[in-house]
């Protein structure tokens, strides 16, 4: 039997077929809040994510959006910070607070059997936070120390400085938070930000897990009333004021590695070229077998990891290559990245590589809908951009059908190395 086994050839490859994207159950609370439910999984747990248009885009002072979100759980009308955390921990639940550029999120993770004890806490922190000054001192001090530590890292410096290069340091997507910014925010700012952004007119709820019947009634009880309404402010439009220098260097003395960023402004998810750019990006640096990884890591050993991504935002977006390389090979690394960008612009990708990337991306989509929490994460981005399931169907369609000529056209339009910005953070530039 051993002799019959052909180890040289891959077993027959089965087509991955059509991905069944799960449809959330959509309902609406009396006050208009939309609730999306993903009911599946094997564990008796639930996540309730509340999404607010309360990201750094909406803040008047740097840090105030993030500070407001962090402070929600630090004391409410009916609970001290300590009582909140004691109760939450007692029932084995936890909150996750995240503030991004466009949105802020507060998510409750709970065992179903304790939800009647934990859901009221979520309501309390979202609707009734009081922002005690003493608690704020602790949180702000901690954030300041974390920022100071992060500013020792080339990777962190590269990320924040590159945002400024692309968008301008006054633009909400380009703000580079300084330790002193934290000192300029006080609890009155947080009260104001909470009032303007954390209200029922500015909120979406996404539920995932094994959902018990009657959950929607509980959500109605806690979040469906008119007691926390507010007026959504119309979003401010900011002007881009990015750098006019294509090459930028930020010195970090004594660093053993240099962090690299190369990229440019792009677009939001609804742009017609978004799906094609996802495929092109994968070829360049979007998976382990990508050209950047093959060249700079697997062939040259310059780096532990390098990749690229297309980052869609509500009002725009960007493309970026990022990695850390040995400080001694920075010139060689930049030159290889440029070589790979040029290759995308001048040569058509071969059928074997393209089919590999199609399969990889299809597998990635399958993993992205595997399990209720993954589904909720995937859809949460879509919902916020006002898109629906058809977005994934279009994306899948592009993954399966885009051709080499179309990819080359995209590369010429968006990835010409002479048009992109470069940032090096390390001991020496080029």
């Amino acid at each position: 039997m051993t002799n019959l086994l052909n180890r040289k050839s891959q077993p027959a490859i089965q087509s991955l077929g059509r991905i069944q994207f799960p449809q959330p159950q959509i309902s609406q609370l009396s006050n208009g809040i939309k609730v999306y439910q993903f009911n599946s999984g094997s564990q008796d747990v639930i996540s309730i994510e509340m999404v607010f248009a309360a990201g750094s885009w909406f803040q008047k002072k740097p840090f105030s959006a993030m500070a407001t979100n962090l402070m929600l759980r630090e004391g409410t009308r009916n609970f001290s910070a300590q009582k909140l955390s004691e109760t939450l921990d007692y029932f084995g639940a936890h909150f996750e607070n995240t503030t991004e550029r466009d949105n802020a999120y507060i998510t409750l993770y709970s065992l179903n059997k304790h939800l009647n004890n934990t859901l009221p806490l979520l309501s309390e922190i979202v609707k009734n936070p009081v922002f005690p000054a003493s608690e704020y001192d602790v949180i702000a001090g901690k954030q300041r120390q974390m920022l100071e530590v992060n500013r020792q890292k080339v990777n962190f410096l590269a990320r924040t400085h590159f945002n400024s290069i692309l968008f301008g340091s006054k633009h909400p997507y380009g703000i580079n938070l300084e330790p002193n910014d934290i000192g300029r925010v006080n609890t009155a700012d947080l009260v104001e930000f909470h009032k303007s952004q954390y209200h029922s007119g500015n909120c979406t709820i996404i539920v995932a897990g094994l959902i018990k019947p009657g959950l929607i009634n509980d959500l109605e009880t806690y979040f469906g009333g008119s007691d926390w309404s507010g007026n959504s402010i119309s979003p401010i439009q900011y002007l881009l004021s990015g750098s006019d220098q294509k090459y930028n260097f930020h010195q970090k003395e004594g660093a053993m590695q240099s962090a690299i960023r190369i990229g440019g402004l792009m677009f939001s998810r609804s742009h017609p070229d978004f799906a094609g750019m996802k495929v092109l990006n994968a070829i360049l640096g979007g998976y382990f077998g990508s050209r950047l990884m093959n060249n700079l890591r697997e062939d040259k050993g310059y780096t532990y990891g390098i990749g690229s991504s297309v980052v869609p935002l509500r009002n725009g977006g960007f493309f970026v290559i990022s990695g850390e390389v040995g400080a001694g090979v920075i010139k060689e690394a930049l030159s290889e990245i440029k070589f790979e960008l040029n290759r995308l612009c001048t040569e058509q990708v071969g059928e074997s590589e393209l089919s590999l990337v199609r399969s990889y991306l299809t597998g990635e989509m399958l993993r992205a809908v595997d399990g209720p929490f993954a589904q909720a994460d995937l859809y949460s981005e879509l919902i916020e951009d006002g898109l629906d399931i058809s977005h994934f169907e279009q994306l899948t369609d592009t993954i399966n059908h885009i051709n080499a000529q179309q990819l080359q056209d995209l590369a010429i339009r968006y990835l010409n190395p002479d048009d992109l910005f470069t940032l090096v953070v390390g001991p020496e530039g080029i």
């Binding site: 180890r7 490859i13 590999l356 399969s359 597998g363 399958l366 209720p372």
Partner: protein, 412 residues
């Protein structure tokens, strides 16, 4: 309750199968019973370097990653002090490609010089990126040899120094492979919408012919009981002073393990943990402080690490921390607080098994400990811990002479 089937091939490969029909994804996890504890003191970091080489092509397959990506799969691996773990997920109907790939690299590697040269560089860059070029990144590299004088846990998985990796030779690579990468030294778990009979047939087909290899008998030096407190002070270019304290604790198989783990939760789990409430919020001595166990299979470390608030003296911070340690040794924990940490453990376990890959990894780990079914008795084990056991374990661990302290101070 995670149900599973188990069988062993004639060559000693242990196979665990868990069925979960709720997902089209199948996870394959292969654990090799070799970690950095099995390394020679002059060749530390070798088990981890070897993990990289496992992706450099096998005897019949020049590239590992590409065929897997071609069927929509994804993979990775990690090495720790105790074992090396390779895992992948793949859309179920292409599972056979995973068997083909994994069996070939268990059968034999290609031992490509090119891959060897490149991966040595990659690992040195990893060493720099994660340990040397990070603020506080070398703390564990300093703490381990302070706490361990004899046992190989004295070095981190990445190794003592990049030179150990730079000096490794191809002969050593071959020797390492022959000693450890054998079916009788591995555990394979498949989790997903699969039938045990189908997995049995695939396992026999692809892995059955691999030679058993020599059984590895681990015989590591025993760390003598620590008899006096140790300290080390370093000055580094970091913004804040930090403290790292470690105490020797029991092994994973010891009855006291569960109480010890709960002690770390009492001190620092969630926002309501004692250290956070007292030292961060009330006294404002630390900006952050954490207690945790190292998670090793053999006798490991109980660790507390904290960063001090600017201007606070190390003596004041350490004295206040000591009061918290004295408290948990002297006064029995209240029933409510004990119930809190038990509830938390129960929830964490539920959240840690959301995907088939999580379940596959857990089953492999507990099978390595001796029995995959341990995974189903954990909640009960934690729930049975009494307040008295917490006190007894705390007193055992937090002896002054059992402690090693690293003072990691800001230069200016």
């Amino acid at each position: 309750m995670t149900e599973f089937d188990r069988f062993t091939l004639d060559n000693g490969l242990r196979v665990v199968v868990h069925r979960d029909s709720s997902t089209p994804i199948v996870a394959m996890n292969i654990l090799y019973n070799v970690g950095s504890r099995d390394e020679h003191p002059d060749r530390t970091g070798f088990a981890h370097l070897f993990e990289h080489l496992m992706f450099g092509g096998s005897v019949n397959i020049p590239r590992y990653d590409e065929p897997l990506e071609r069927v929509g799969g994804e993979n990775n691996a990690f090495t720790n002090n105790d074992f090396t773990n390779y895992y992948l997920t793949v859309p179920g109907h292409n599972l056979e490609t995973a068997f083909w790939l994994e069996s070939d690299r268990m059968l034999n590697l290609a031992f490509s010089t090119k891959s060897f040269d490149v991966q040595r560089n990659v690992v040195v860059e990893e060493f720099r990126q994660n340990y040397l070029n990070q603020p506080y990144g070398d703390a564990w590299l300093l703490l381990r040899p302070l706490a361990y004088k004899v046992h190989p846990y004295q070095w981190a998985t990445i190794g003592i120094d990049p030179s150990h990796i730079e000096n490794a030779s191809m002969d050593e690579v071959r020797d390492f492979y022959e000693r450890f990468y054998n079916p009788c030294n591995a555990i394979m778990v498949i989790a997903g919408n699969v039938e045990t009979n189908e997995i049995k047939a695939l396992s026999e087909k692809w892995f059955g012919v691999i030679e058993k290899g020599t059984v590895y008998h681990r015989n590591l030096p025993v760390e003598p009981t620590q008899t006096e407190a140790r300290t080390l002070t370093v000055h580094r270019d970091v913004p804040y002073d930090a403290i790292y304290k470690s105490w020797h604790m029991c092994s994973r198989a010891d009855d006291g393990f569960f109480a010890t783990d709960l002690i770390s939760d009492i001190l620092s789990a969630g926002q309501s943990g004692r250290l956070n409430q007292q030292l961060v919020k009330n006294l404002r001595l630390f900006s952050e402080i954490n207690a945790f166990i190292s998670g090793d299979i053999e006798a490991g470390l109980f660790v507390i690490t904290g960063k001090l608030i600017k201007g606070v003296s190390m003596a004041d911070a350490e004295a206040a921390l000591q009061l918290e340690i004295d408290e948990i040794c002297k006064n029995e924990i209240a029933e409510n607080e004990l119930q809190k940490v038990k509830n938390r453990v129960e929830a964490m376990m539920a959240f840690s098994e959301m995907r088939v890959l999580d379940k596959a990894m857990n089953l492999a780990y507990y099978e390595l400990l001796g029995d995959a079914s341990l995974v189903n008795s954990l909640v009960h084990k934690y729930a049975s811990v009494t307040a008295n056991e917490i006190s007894v374990e705390a007193k055992k661990i937090f002896k002054t002479e059992n402690c090693s302290t690293l003072y990691y101070l800001a230069k200016n």
